[in-house]
């Protein structure tokens, strides 16, 4: 059994002390990194609750419950930020990425505490596979939100669509991992391939016409 709330306190402590000396300018980064780790902590509890409620086995819990709960939990701090502070486009993207990165980091720390850090191959897979997958989901949400929140008619459909896209991407990744065999190698490569594809598409789009809707 891993006491993840103890790990959370252990990581949050030094950050909390450091922020006292860093000044107001960095409060936002601190808040979002805490929000990301807090979302990860709460997701673990909520995942367990739903798994018990629906009587889900390991595959059911990882492929169907975890993606929905984790992506919704990551999205909640962002939604709060969007609705309460009405930030600028550039600030939204950074906030989402900080939440996603701290979520992935905290999840990786919990896995390493639980399973040990002896195998370098396993650590690389966690870092560049699962960790990168969370970042990709964050990028989907951040780039998307920056775009859809510029247009009132697109806010509801766009926000819900982005959340659904992140959930389905996460679920497909978990599905391939849970199946094992050759499918899991596809999953390990998926985040890096998606990032490369996204990078190319962004370059292509930027070289094209400017959007005037």
């Amino acid at each position: 059994m891993t006491y993840i709330e103890n790990i959370f306190v252990c990581i949050a402590g030094p950050l909390l002390l450091a922020i006292l000396f860093m000044g107001r300018k960095y409060y936002g980064v601190f808040f979002f990194s805490m929000a990301g780790m807090g979302a990860c902590l709460l997701s673990a509890y909520i995942n367990t609750f739903f798994a018990k409620l629906y009587g889900a086995d390991f595959i059911g819990a990882t492929t169907q419950i975890a993606p929905v709960v984790e992506e919704v939990m990551k999205f909640l701090p962002l939604l709060f930020y969007l609705l309460v502070f009405e930030p600028k486009s550039k600030e939204i993207g950074i906030a989402v990425l900080v939440v996603a990165t701290s979520f992935a980091t905290f999840e990786n720390i919990c896995y390493l505490v639980d399973r040990g850090a002896a195998q370098l191959s396993y650590i690389l897979i966690r870092g560049f596979g699962t960790g990168a997958m969370h970042i990709v989901c964050g990028i989907i949400a951040s780039y998307g939100i920056v775009f859809v929140w510029q247009y009132n008619w697109l806010k509801i459909a766009g926000t819900f669509g982005l959340l659904a896209a992140a959930i389905n991407y996460h679920a497909i990744y978990n599905l391939l991992i849970a199946h094992g065999g050759q499918a899991q190698y596809i999953a390990y490569a998926l985040p890096i391939v998606t990032m490369s594809f996204g990078f190319i598409m962004t370059r292509v789009y930027e070289s094209g016409k400017r959007i005037e809707l």
Binding site: Q64, V68, I172, L175
Partner: protein
């Protein structure tokens, strides 16, 4: 086998439609095509997860809402699309036949609630009811027009076909007859694939009008 074949066909069709709508948006920079890309993209993602789950584990997802969330998102895109396409006269237009939408959707909802999940079915039925109301209104309004504006009827007709076929799909899933092509579920699923593909040219016609 029938499940996998029809799902793969639908996935392929949705993928083609997403690319097609995305290219139209890139070319014309119109909000209609952006919303259409969102609809096809979300629909495709839900179908991809559903099909992959069936392919890898030989059963469809039963516990939680992953694909369903993507399909709900696709319907929100569709509702936004139908609403933004309508002009102010169309929005004010009323006809007694519009009441067919709530009668049809709510009576079907009663059936689904007796067979399946309450939350998801209620949510999607309300969304589909709203789309059916707006597209039925648009269809009746377009039929009264002359010239180019009349062409919008094809867009609304394609939407109505999608909604009726979806209801056929959900109703037949309540009386499951096995994974064979004799099951009406797969007939509705195949027809839905065709209707999805027809939505793209129908939207083009509506935009041109």
């Amino acid at each position: 086998m029938a499940e996998l074949v029809t799902n793969l066909a639908q996935l392929f069709a949705a993928m083609l439609a997403t690319i097609g709508a995305g290219m139209m948006f890139y070319k014309y920079q119109l909000q209609t095509y952006l919303l259409l890309t969102g609809f096809f993209g979300a629909f495709m993602l839900g179908t991809l997860h559903w099909t992959l789950h069936y392919y890898l584990f030989s059963y469809t997802p039963q516990i939680f809402y992953v694909s369903e969330l993507a399909w709900i998102a696709s319907h929100i895109f569709l509702l936004t699309l139908t609403y933004t396409l309508a002009d102010s006269d169309e929005k004010r237009f009323r006809h007694p036949a519009l009441w067919f939408a709530p009668v049809f959707c709510l009576s079907q909802l009663m059936l689904y609630l007796s067979h399946a999940d309450v939350l998801l079915n209620t949510l999607i039925s309300i969304l589909v009811l709203a789309i059916m109301w707006v597209s039925l209104r648009g269809f009746l309004y377009a039929r009264r027009q002359t010239g180019k504006p009349r062409d919008r009827q094809y867009f609304h007709l394609a939407l109505l076909a999608i909604i009726v076929l979806e209801h056929g799909l959900w109703t037949s899933s309540c009386f499951w007859m096995g994974d064979t092509f004799k099951n009406p579920y797969f007939w509705f699923d195949s027809l839905l694939t065709v209707a999805l593909l027809l939505l793209l040219p129908a939207t083009r016609k509506a935009v041109a009008s």
